[in-house]
Structures are given as C-alpha cells and as structure tokens.
C-alpha cells in the first residue's frame, strides 16, 4: 500500500476506488472558470476508532483550489496562509473517527481559464489512518468544454513607418492575433495583402520573430492565406510582422491601408480593423545633391570664364512644380549672356532679368542642371574670393527656397607682355661717336593685378657716358650695386593697366670702335613676377677713321728751296680725325721724277709708300722724308710731291700737293787758270795754258761762254786750243776763246769739267820782269759772269850774246825758239782744283757726258742768234711697226672712234715716234708709257654711257712734266734716227725743232688739259706719206686753233666737236697703212 503522501503523485496510478462517496458537481462537463465542488463523506464502519485519520484530495490540472473552500464537517481547514491541508502530501488530519462516526469533507475547485477543450479532469480523495491503509474514493471524471477566441480587441493590425512615412521609406505591418478563448486555436490563418503603394520587403515576414518564409516555401507576398501558426494557445498572442517599402514617389497624404483577415480551425475568418498610414511626401532640395558650384573655383584669373553650375536635385519624395533659380552675382562677376544652359540646352535669350531662370517641374529624384557662364572682371586683387549665390525657389510648400553659395578664388597677377612692354630704340640704328642714344621704355601692366616693388634694372654698355633715365620729363634717380655703375631705377607700384614711359639717354664716347654693337637692355623686376626681360635696343657704331687735307699734309722742312744733290726734308703729318682707329695707314708718294726719296724717318718705307700701321683716333703720325733732287732743273721748276693716303676701310685721301721750289744754279766761280811754266818764262818760250772750269753749282748751265782776253805779251799758237783734249778750230786768226762769243759750252751739267788748253809763245821783246796774266770770263745763264785770273807769269830775260846755234851748220843771228806743234802734254792730276762734290752724272740718266759744243760763229755772222742753235735743218722722227703692233694699232684706231676730237688723241698716242733725231731722247719712252696709261684709262672710261670728260682725263701733272722734257729734248734733237732693223713698216716724219722749242717755252704758262702739249706732240707724227702728211697737217691746224682756248673749251671740243675732214684724213691714213702692210 502506498502511503498517503505518495498517492496523487504525478504519473502515479489512481487509487482503487473503495469509497464511492465522492460527489462532484458538475458531474460531466466543466467549462473554464466554473467552480467544481467536491464532497467526500466517510464513516467509521468499524469499530474501533480510527485514529490519526488523514484525508487528501488531488488537484488535477486545469483546476485550482478555491481558497477557503476546504471544509471538514463544515469547518474550514485552511491555515492562516490560505493553504489547504487537504491538498498537502500528508493530507488533512481530521483526528480520530469514532466508529460510525461520519465525517464530511468539502472542497471546491475553480476551473482554470484556459483549458483545452476535451480535457478530462479526474478527482479522487483518499483517506488513511493509523489503523487503516490508504483508501481511495471513487474517481470522478469531468470533461472540459472550451474554445479559442481570436476575434477580440487584442487581435489587430497596425502599420507604422520606421521614422517618417515618406515615399521610399519602409513601414512595418504588424498583425497581432490574440487568442482570447480558453483553448488553443489551431492553424491560424492570416490573409494580409501587401498594402497598396507599398511593396513587400523580401524576407521580412516574421511570426513572433521567427522567419516564416522558409516554412511557407515561398515569398510571403506570393502566398495567399498562409497558416502562420499551427496553434495559438488560449490567452496567447502571436504577432505577424512584415515590412513594406513605400512606393516613391508618392504624393503627400497618400493613405496606405493595411488590411488582414484571420481565421483558424476553430474560428471562422474575420477581418481585422484596417490600419492606415499617411504618407508624408514633399519635394526637397535640401541635401547635398543640390549644389551650386563654380568651375574652376580656384586660381581663376580675371577675364577667365567661370561656369556656375546649379544642380537642383529633388531629393524629396514629391515633384516640385515651378522651380526657379535666381543668381546673385557680385560686381566682379559678369554673366555671359546667351551662354546659359539647362540640362545642356541653351536658353532663350531674355533681356529682362537675365539672372532668373525657370527650371520648370522637377520630379522627385530628378535633377536639373543650370549652367551659366560668367566672366571674372579685371582687375582684381590676387587671392581674393568672389562669392556667387543662387537662390532656388519652389512652391511646395509655398515660398520654399534655398540659397546656395559658391566661392571663386581669384588668381590675379600683373603681367608685362612682350607686345606692349619693350625697350625700343629712338632714332637711327647707327650711332655716331659723341652722339646721343635714346631708347624708350614702355612698361604697361596689362595684367589684372598691381605689380609691387617694381625695379627697373638697366643693362647698359659700360662704355656709354651720361646715362640718365627720364619719366615725364623728370629725371629719375639711378642707383646701383656700386656707386660707379648705377643701373637700377625704383619704380614702386605699377598699377594694373597703368602705362609708364621711361626714356633712357646716353652718349657714345668718342672715339669708339667701328661696327661695334651698342646694346641697352633692361629688365623689370617685380615682387609678383620676378624678372621680366625687355628686349634690347641695338645700335651699330658707325665710326671710321678719317683724314682730311687740313690735318694730314706734306710740309717742307727747314729748306724752302730744294737744290740738286741736296736733301730736303719733307714732313709728313698724318692725323686721324675720325672716330675709329685706322689700320694699315699708308701714304703712297708720287714724287716728281727729278727727285728721289732718299730716306724715311718715322715710318716704314715700302717702295714709294710709307707705312704708318695703326693710327688711333685723334692721333697723328709724323714722318720725315729725305728728298734728293736728282738732276738740275731750270730755275723755279718745282718738284711736286703728291701723297695718296690710304687705310683699311676708307677711301683714299689725296693730300695737298707739296710743291718744292728748286733752285738749281750753275756755278763756274771756282776754277783754275794755270800756265806751264807756272811762274817764270823766258821770252820766246812756249807757254801752255790750262783753264779748268767746272760747273760747281747744282744746275745745268744752258750756255756758258768762256772768253779770255788775249795778252799783248803772248803770241797765240794757232789751232792749239783744245777743250778736254778735243781740238777746236780757231775763230779766224783768233783763238776760239778770244772771239766775241768765246767758247760756248751748252748744257753743262753740274760737276762737269771742261779744260781749255792752248799754247802761246812769249813775246821776245818783253823785258824781264814783265808779268803776264790771263783773265777768263765765264758768262752763263745770261746773268752771271765769273772771272778766273791766272797766276802771274814773269818774264825771265837774260842777256845772251851767243850766235852759234847747236845743230846748225851755220850761224844764225837769232836765238833758239820753241818748237811748234809740239805734242801737248797731258794734264796731271795735281793740276786739278779740289772742287766741291757734285752729283755724279752718267749717260744713263739722260745727261750728256760732255757739254755739247758748237763752234762759235764767225764774226761776220754777228747777227745770228746768240744761242747758236738756229738751223733750218729739220729733225727727223721715226715710228716703226712690227706686224703685230701694226695690227693692234689699226684695231685700236678702229675701236677708239668716239665723237669729238678725242679720237685723234688716240691717233697721237698710236703714232708717237720711237726715235727723234739721231740722238737718244730719253723722255720719249716715258712719254709713251704715260700716254699709254692715261689714254688706256680714257679708252675704258669712254665706254661708259654718257661719260663726261674731265681735265684729269686729258692731262696730269706728271704727264705735263714728261711732255715738257720730251719737247725740250726733241727741240734740241738733230738729225734723223736710224732705221729699225726688225720693223716691217717704218714711218718717218720731220719737224722744225725751233717750232717745237717755241711751243715748249709756252708750256710754263699753259694750264693743264689744253691743246698745247698735243699740238707739240702732233708735230712729231710721221708725214712720210701723203696720207700721213695730210692728216698731220689737218691735225695741227685743228689743235693750233685752240691756241688761245682754255682747258674747258678744249675738253668740250674733245668730246663734242666733230671734224669730218680730220676724221676722213685719219681714215685715209689708216687705209694707207693697211695697204702698206
């Protein structure tokens, strides 16, 4: 038997029903909340008292003891805590029950509120005592009757957004199913369609937090009426939750209604009260996607375009209607009209309110882009910020707007463009030493910002002087690193778009090297830009050496007169009056042929040129020339010295001609007159006289007449006179020196000696002691008369009585005398006088070795000219042609046919004789060469079109000098020249020497380039043939016609006067030569 404490244990089998006195009300069914009353009665049917009786009731599930309902025999058994001992494990002690004593135990239970329908509730009571084992009552079985109740107030649906019910946001639909019944609801089904304007958020469906889509096997929104719960106990709730996404966009105020139906196996479907959610929706431009920006925003330079972009993004959930934008631009930002676009499309140009733009409607999540081009004005301060603003207006809610701003950071700097800024040269590019240079500097800040701390640095040639900088007539201070080279000008601030003009002036030093470049440069230094180089201004120095005839000259030294065989000092002074050094300065000297350059001091001599080398500007060089007059000249016949000054890089400068007067005078003052015997002589003795005369002067004596007065004491030995051992015929009965003219010596050159020797016999009747002396007179040049007196010769007479003469077979009343025709004794050296040295004269320089002698005329020809040259004999000329020369001559005459008489000068040149007289004519060759040189040049010049003849083309001083010599020599020539052995054609001519001499004497007065020399030369032309004679005659006629004409008339005639007769005669002569050849 089980003790009482072990009965009614969970899982324990019920007690055997022994006492069937348990009455339960209700008897069959019970419902939740009902009170079940049980009454158990037992009786001691025994006999003995049952002691220690204990009674216990079970408490089945679903029933709850009603406190205070446990009664023993009507007495409450509950303790003070409301616990009933009837339900305790030990049961309630009811004490001893006497036999037949009956006891009644009552207890009440309350049916639990939630008890599953059909639940069986078994009630049993048990009693035990010390004496009796535990006895069970009958078991009363009650069946519970209950049902679930889903449709109640707690079963509902709700929808609510997580935050704001805005389109696009999510909302949560919550369906709460509450089983308000007493039993479990089975297979709870919920029909919950996704609300309109929403969409199901996949995987979001949960039932009591548990995902159900896996169980459903499909998405929640695709299953209609799913069973969300298999059972829902009574009094329990279940929650179905899923999330939906609110459609966007949606107009504001849109109602989202959530509906649901619920049902279970026990509960028919019923609808839950719908829940709704009002959508909060409005357009919005408040987020960052609506922006206003500038591109570029940094480093924008004035004048640069800036694109302002307003991006209006409707970040709201509703479309915005009538959206407009208005730009607020600062004063430094100008809108570019016509450049605005909306979404890339250009806008129609509006003149009114150009900064307001209608953007139109903008749907939610739509964007409109307004682009406006602006230009940043200039000038602007660097790193300044220009702010632009855009105000976006829309009308939902009314008068909504948003102001956006953007900044443009300015990058501004000054600029000095090369086109507007520069250093330009003012005036010519050629700089002259001593001249001024001027350059203009233009500084124009065409940048957009001020240039600060401007400093102008000049780059100036150090050689320039007086450098100054001016601005608006004001001289600016020049500073520099050092005091002696100021090169900096402080300019301060150069404001934007300001133009400053500076002028640089400097002076070129003098002298200065030629062709050197002078450069003035400048650079502008500013704090912002640093160094800005300006172009350089260039000049080229035009500096040349120069010589003029005033400062470069030939000067005669101490002597004013040049004498033959003497040195004359000529100073050459060369001064460079130019501005550059003269290189290779040389002076080519043209000295008359009669003078020779002997020495040069102060310069290097190279032939006839003097080399001075380099001569600095303003420097001068001096050289001293030693000129020696080579031969005697006539009085007042000057020696000319011409100088042609040359140097590199300059035109030759002819110096003023130096004319040196010459004074060549013969001098016969020194001589000796001696006799042999010298001191004493016996009467009847022969005395040989020696008269030594010498031209000790420096000029040629044209005529020297030597006369010696005869002595009465002497008897001349006929034909004993010799001159330099050449016997001279007596003049009648007189010795040749005793005639009226005496012995005439012609052309006695300086240094030439003449020794006149004759013999005489001392008169026998002279008393002893008589002195005999001769006096010789030498008259020359018509003016001077020198006297040479011989030493006295004394007569030594002694008495002689002898009459016997040895050698004679007879006596002779006389005395022995000197023998006649005795051989003259030669002069001994000691008879010569020591005379001053003279210039050696040789045949090579054209002088005659001895004075030409001519016999003095007889006394009966006293009226003859004193010169003694008068003769009627003509002098011959000859010109010989080889075949080659003849051909060239004829071709030259054919080519040299010019207008005017100039052609005939070429004819004179062609037929100039090669020989005059039977002697040598030294001037002829020089004349031919000079004529050839001059006329060849003239021939070339006449080929120039419209060439105008000048005087120097016709005759030059050197040609004049040579011609004079030729005329002199030809005038003195005699005879006929010899035949040329190799000539094929020989042309001869004759002329009257007197006529030529007459012409020669007029040379001195004739100016250059007159017809006179040519008339003289024409007389030397051949006249052997009739053609030649005719041509010469006509040519002489033509040239003599210009006797009184000056050079201008003659030159004009040479070029313009035609003479057909003369031309024809020349043609005839040429033709005849052709035929002769």
């Amino acid at each position: 038997m089980r003790p009482l404490s072990e009965v009614f244990a969970p899982g324990a089998p019920t007690l055997p029903e022994r006492l069937r006195t348990l009455v339960v009300s209700p008897e069959r069914e019970l419902e939740p909340g009902m009170t079940v009353r049980a009454a158990f009665t037992f009786r001691n049917h025994g006999g003995a008292p049952a002691t220690g009786v204990q009674i216990r009731f079970n408490v089945p599930d679903g029933l709850v003891y009603l406190v205070g309902s446990g009664l023993l025999d009507g007495n409450e058994l509950d303790d003070e805590l409301g616990n009933s001992p009837l339900l305790s494990r030990a049961g309630a002690h009811v004490g001893d029950v006497l036999p037949n004593e009956e006891r009644r135990i009552e207890i009440a239970y309350s049916v639990a509120g939630a008890i599953e329908n059909g639940t069986t509730v078994e009630l049993q009571a048990a009693v035990a005592s010390f004496e009796l084992p535990c006895v069970g009552s009958n078991v009363v079985r009650l069946v519970a009757r209950s049902k679930p109740q889903l449709a109640n107030a707690l079963t509902c649906i709700s929808i609510e957004a997580a935050r704001d019910a805005v389109p696009g946001s999510q909302a949560q639909v919550t369906i709460r199913i509450h089983n308000a019944g007493e039993s479990t609801a089975r297979d709870v089904v919920v029909v919950s369609p996704i609300p309109e304007y929403t969409s199901y958020v996949a995987g979001s469906a949960r039932v009591n937090g548990r995902e159900i889509e896996r169980e459903l096997g499909a998405s929640f929104d695709h299953v209609y009426a799913p069973v969300v719960l298999r059972s829902l106990p009574a009094r329990a709730s279940a929650t179905l939750v899923y999330r939906v996404a609110i459609d966007a966009p949606l107009p504001g105020g849109t109602q989202i209604v959530a509906r649901a139906d619920a049902a279970s196996q026990e509960t028919p479907a019923f609808s839950l009260d719908p829940a709704s959610l009002t959508v909060l929706s409005a357009p919005g431009f408040g987020d960052e996607r609506t922006s206003f920006s500038a591109d570029p925003a940094h480093g924008v330079r004035p004048g640069q375009r800036v694109r302002l972009t307003l991006t209006a993004f409707n970040a709201g959930s509703a479309a915005a209607q009538r959206v407009s934008a208005r730009l607020e631009l600062p004063e430094h930002l100008f809108v570019v009209r016509g450049a605005a676009t909306i979404d890339g499309r250009p806008l129609r140009e509006r003149r009114k309110d150009p900064l307001r733009f209608q953007l139109g409607p903008i749907d939610a999540d739509q964007c409109v882009t307004l682009c406006v081009d602006c230009v940043l004005t200039s000038p602007l301060v660097d790193k300044s910020v220009v702010s632009a603003a855009a105000v976006l207006d829309w009308d939902d809610p009314p008068a909504s707007s948003r102001r956006l701003e953007c900044d443009v950071q300015v990058r501004s700097e000054p600029a000095f463009s090369a086109r507007r800024n520069g250093l330009t040269r003012a005036g010519s590019a050629i700089a002259v030493p001593g001249g001024a240079l001027e350059a203009a500097i233009v500084l124009e800040n065409d940048g957009s910002a001020d240039a600060n701390d401007g400093v102008l640095r000049l780059h100036i040639e150090p050689a320039l002087d007086d450098v100054a900088v001016f601005e608006s007539g004001r001289r600016l201070a020049l500073e520099g690193r050092s005091a002696d080279s100021p090169d900096t000008v402080e300019l301060g601030t150069l404001e934007a778009y300001e133009t400053r003009r500076l002028t640089i002036r400097a002076r070129v030093p003098s002298p200065f090297a030629n062709a050197r470049e002078l450069r003035i440069g400048a650079s502008l230094h500013t704090r912002e830009l640093g160094e800005t180089q300006l172009p350089d201004a260039l000049w080229r120095v035009d500096s040349h050496p120069a010589f003029d005839r005033e400062t470069s000259r030939l000067e005669l030294g101490a002597q004013s007169v040049l004498r033959p065989n003497q040195l004359a000092d000529v100073d050459v002074i060369v001064t460079n009056v130019g501005t550059d050094s003269a290189h290779n300065v040389s002076l080519r000297c043209y000295i008359s042929p009669e003078a020779r350059l002997e020495s040069v001091d102060g310069a290097t001599r190279e032939k006839s040129s003097l080399l001075f080398g380099e001569l600095a500007p303003a420097a001068h060089a001096r050289a001293r020339l030693g000129l020696r007059l080579l031969r005697g000249l006539a009085k007042d016949w000057p020696v000319t010295v011409d100088g042609l000054l040359t140097a590199d890089g300059m035109l030759p400068v002819p110096l003023e001609r130096l004319i040196i007067a010459t004074n060549a005078e013969p001098d016969f003052s020194t001589g000796s007159f001696q006799s042999e015997p010298a001191d004493t002589v016996d009467p009847g003795e022969t005395v040989e006289w020696f008269l030594h005369v010498r031209n000790g002067g420096d000029g040629t004596a044209r005529i020297a007449q030597i006369t010696i007065v005869g002595s009465e004491s002497l008897i001349y030995v006929p034909n004993s006179t010799t001159v330099n051992d050449v016997p001279i015929r007596d003049s009648g009965a007189l010795p040749p020196f005793a005639g009226s003219r005496g012995i005439v010596l012609n052309d006695v050159d300086p240094g030439v000696e003449a020794t006149i020797r004759w013999r005489s016999v001392v008169h026998n009747a002279l008393p002893a002691g008589t002195s005999i002396a001769h006096v010789a007179h030498i008259r020359y040049d018509g003016e001077r008369d020198d006297e040479i007196v011989s030493a006295e010769l004394r007569i030594r007479a002694t008495p002689i009585f002898a009459n016997a003469i040895p050698g004679l077979p007879f006596g002779l009343d006389g005395m022995l005398g000197p023998a006649l025709a005795a051989r003259p004794r030669a002069l001994s050296e000691d008879r010569f006088l020591q005379l001053p040295p003279a210039t050696p004269v040789s045949e090579g320089n054209g002088s005659h070795p001895l004075a030409q002698l001519s016999a003095a005329p007889d006394d009966d020809v006293e009226d003859a000219p004193p010169e003694g040259f008068e003769t009627t004999d003509a002098t011959g000329t000859i010109v010989a042609f080889t075949p080659d020369r003849l051909g060239r001559t004829l071709r030259l005459l054919r080519e040299a046919r010019f207008r005017g008489l100039i052609t005939h000068l070429f004819a004179v040149r062609a037929f100039l004789p090669e020989g005059v007289g039977d002697g040598r004519c030294s001037a002829l060759g020089a004349t031919r060469e000079l004529l050839r040189e001059e006329l060849d040049r003239l021939f070339i010049k006449l080929r120039l079109p419209l060439y105008v003849l000048t005087a120097r083309d016709v005759e030059t001083p050197s040609l004049r000098t040579t011609l004079e010599r030729l005329v002199q020599e030809a005038g003195a020539a005699r005879g006929v020249p010899a035949e040329a052995p190799t000539a094929e054609l020989t042309l001869r001519g004759t002329f009257d020497p007197k006529e030529l001499r007459d012409l020669g004497e007029r040379f001195a007065q004739a100016q250059l380039a007159t017809a006179l020399p040519w008339a003289a030369l024409a007389r030397l032309l051949p006249d052997e043939t009739s053609a030649c004679a005719n041509y010469r005659a006509l040519l002489l006629e033509a040239l003599d016609g210009f006797e009184d004409a000056d050079c201008n008339e003659f030159i004009d005639a040479l070029q313009h006067r035609d003479d057909s007769r003369l031309d024809a005669a020349l043609d005839a002569m040429v033709a005849s030569l052709h035929s002769m050849a």
């Binding site: 030629n514 062709a515 290779n584 032939k607 060239r888 040189e933 040049r937």
Partner: protein, 116 residues
C-alpha cells in the same frame, strides 16, 4: 586655351629668335666696308676708284679689284681687268675669265688685247 595660346606665342617667339640669329647682319670687316662703299659709287666713280686702288699693293685693294671683275658695269670690269693686267696679276683674271665664259669675257679679252 590660355595655356595653348601661351605655348604658341613662346614657340613663335623662339622661331623668330632663331630666324633673326641666322639672318642678322654680321659685323663686317674693313675690307667688306670698303667693298660696300665701292658698291655705292657710280659707274664712273667705280672706274676711277679701281684705277686709284690698283696702284696700291695691299691685299684688300687687290681683293676689291678682283671683285670688280664681276661688276655689273662692263667698263668697270674692264678697268679692273686692265688694272690687274698692268700690275702683272694675270692669274686672278685668267681664273675669272675661265670661270665666267661668254660674251662679256670675250669682250674684255679683246679690249685687253687692244690695249696691250
């Protein structure tokens, strides 16, 4: 755009600088200056000049005379040829005549033969 323009400007300036450096006039020697001055003379003056400098025996004068052989004026060229012939410097003349054959050379040769 501004950068491209600047690059173009710098390029053009560089080209201009190089061009100027190539064609800028060089400094002339004294002989060249003499020749330049010679070129500015008239035909007659050039003839006279040739005759004057032909007497000088310096290299620059000789070079000038040799250059005058190619003078546009035939008379000047003839003067130079005559001057060279007279001075005995026939080598440059012969070289010139061989390098410049034609009617002008023949004319000069014939004239020189006449004046020989």
């Amino acid at each position: 755009m501004l950068a491209v323009t600047l690059v173009l400007v710098v390029f053009i300036v560089a080209l201009a600088t190089v061009g100027y450096a190539l064609v800028r006039p060089r400094r002339k020697s004294d002989a060249d200056l003499l020749i330049d001055e010679f070129g500015n003379l008239s035909n007659a003056e050039r003839c006279e000049f040739i005759f004057a400098v032909a007497t000088l025996d310096d290299p620059s004068s000789l070079r000038l005379v040799e250059r005058a052989l190619d003078d546009p004026c035939e008379a000047v060229a003839l003067a130079a040829a005559h001057a060279l012939t007279t001075a005995g410097r026939t080598a440059p003349l012969e070289r010139f005549l061989s390098e410049h054959p034609g009617g002008r050379a023949e004319s000069i040769t014939a004239s020189l033969e006449l004046l020989a």
